[in-house]
Symmetry: C2
Subunit: 330 residues, 2 copies
């Protein structure tokens, strides 16, 4: 399936010469989605990071600047998600071009909405376009994963894949990973509450440990298989039954004050199911239609206020959000 | 979705009085199917167990006879899969009827082809029909699970569900379990080699232990989700990639001499993927079309002969095999 990124890139490449600058938007994303720890992700509408990449004197990454982050994102190319992804593209193409990177953060830090992945995806797509657009989507994903690994401490693409392709994506681990686009019911809308607290992704992973019970495993792969069956067949009862996490959420929930009450409020307000977005603290809910999603999002925001005393940003997104796309080039 | 069983049962129930005898066939099945430990199963054509249930003087199960088993299946109703399932139906319906049970085994014992489940399913469906056909498919599954639990030592329905419904079935654990019928590509054909050796199901489960690594878990739920996506979309590359077991097969393979060579022979002969059927020793392979499946089945049988010095029964089955059905009633 052609992505918007590929179409935009093809248009650009019909020009006689390579661009001097490319700007790319990559969306935020929800990962895990209940039962799909490290394998499921879904892109969100209207929120994301932008990365601008410019040809510059010198070799390799000559500068990284970041805005919208309150000065907290490292500008060392070897510690910056976009910088690492751009370097991945340069290495893969064997390029000695000089590149300056500008990152405009739109996704809150440590929110569980795939900010590192979005910066890395945008960087990879932008650098590839700057250098001629030779990489296929799997190669772009692998470059983005280099960038994200630094931020999250793990080697998985459940945020990067939907940020790249859009929509609901299953990622099969491996070298290379495989991305599978999963169709969703037409009326699926996602409600998100991002409370003004932070969860450090690395810590949220460390507390999981290295083993799980076989019983929890059977629950998890049954639910993951059932979620995909529910999405393909539009079976809301099945989707709701399968939207629960036997592995990560029971451990991580204690890092997010008020989580259980927020989840309960979403279900009471009519959500099909709800859970932590990635490692939290954001909470997502699957809803039928935008009206239902607005009600659910408001309920979740209210519950965070009451239970944890924190304000939340609330968001509504269709399930077929765009993936990464080129916004500008010259 | 109406099953053939239900249709046959409905026809029977239009008669003025309850039958005195009901005979039911329930097919053999492959479980696990690579990545779906305890959750995936598929019915096979042309091989199964028959259970005849007759109204008898007295209360409860007054007699159990078994043929085709070489005298090895217990005839104590409290230790016989069909007997336990029939008792489950009697208990569920609050019936004090007297019942005599005749089991005709068609599935080899300890073959990994769901023999206990088939006897239990046939017993449950037959007893329900004898008593008026009141139970829905979930209740019938639960009664069959009572019977199978005694044989396999575990509380799962990955053989019983496809034996009841036919086709490829995902079973979500829980009370009640939920059965999800998964469509398959039209040209999917299964090749099976049943070598003349036995693996005791209980032992094959005990050696698995109670925990798995989180890494193996992620592989498994990624593959289980991908298998369902591949089945819905007819993506053979995806089905093949996902047909591998990160959890049970690596441990159980050592119980089946020659397994790795047999699996390799299937892939060399053109199979999309192959693995242990349930806990083995039977090996199944997914193939495209009957001709390919015949070639693959012959290769697997040959490899068992060469590598383990044993003969095999080989079988070919379409993916849409019937589930349990009433053969006769009077």
């Amino acid at each position: 399936m052609a992505t918007r990124r590929t179409l935009a890139g093809a248009d650009m490449l019909s020009r006689d010469s390579l661009p001097r600058m490319v700007g790319v938007f990559a969306p935020a994303s929800i990962s895990n989605l209940g039962c799909g720890f490290d394998i499921f992700g879904m892109a969100l509408e209207g929120i994301g990071d932008q990365v601008l990449v410019r040809a510059a004197e010198g070799t390799g990454i000559v500068a990284v600047s970041v805005s919208g982050d309150g000065g907290r994102v490292p500008t060392d190319p070897a510690r910056n998600a976009a910088g690492l992804a751009v370097q991945g593209v340069l290495d893969r193409l064997g390029s000695e071009a000089g590149v300056a990177i500008e990152v405009r953060k739109g996704i809150p830090l440590a929110s569980g909405l795939g900010g590192s992945a979005a910066s890395a995806v945008a960087g990879a797509v932008a650098a590839d376009a700057l250098l001629g657009g030779e990489l296929d989507r799997t190669a772009l994903l692998e470059c983005a994963m280099i960038g994200e690994a630094k931020g999250s401490g793990a080697d998985h693409a459940d945020n990067a894949a939907p940020s790249l392709l859009g929509g609901f994506v299953l990622v099969l681990p491996g070298r290379p990973p495989r991305m599978v686009e999963v169709p969703t019911p037409e009326d699926l809308v996602v409600a998100v509450a991002h409370p003004h607290m932070e969860v450090e992704t690395k810590r949220a992973r460390t507390i999981l440990g290295d083993t799980i019970t076989l019983e929890a495993g059977v629950q998890q792969w049954g639910n993951a298989a059932g979620m995909v069956a529910g999405m393909f067949s539009g079976d809301w009862g099945l989707i709701g039954r399968c939207l629960c996490d036997a592995v990560a959420e029971p451990v991580r929930a204690r890092l997010v004050p008020g989580f259980e009450a927020v989840r309960a409020s979403a279900l009471e307000a009519g959500a099909i199911g709800a859970g932590l977005s990635g490692s939290g603290p954001s909470v997502f809910a699957f809803c039928r239609g935008r009206h239902a999603a607005q009600t659910v999002a408001a309920a979740m925001g209210g519950a965070f206020q009451v239970e944890a005393g924190v304000r939340s940003d609330i968001m509504i997104s269709g399930a077929n959000a765009f993936g990464a796309r080129i916004l500008e080039n010259e």
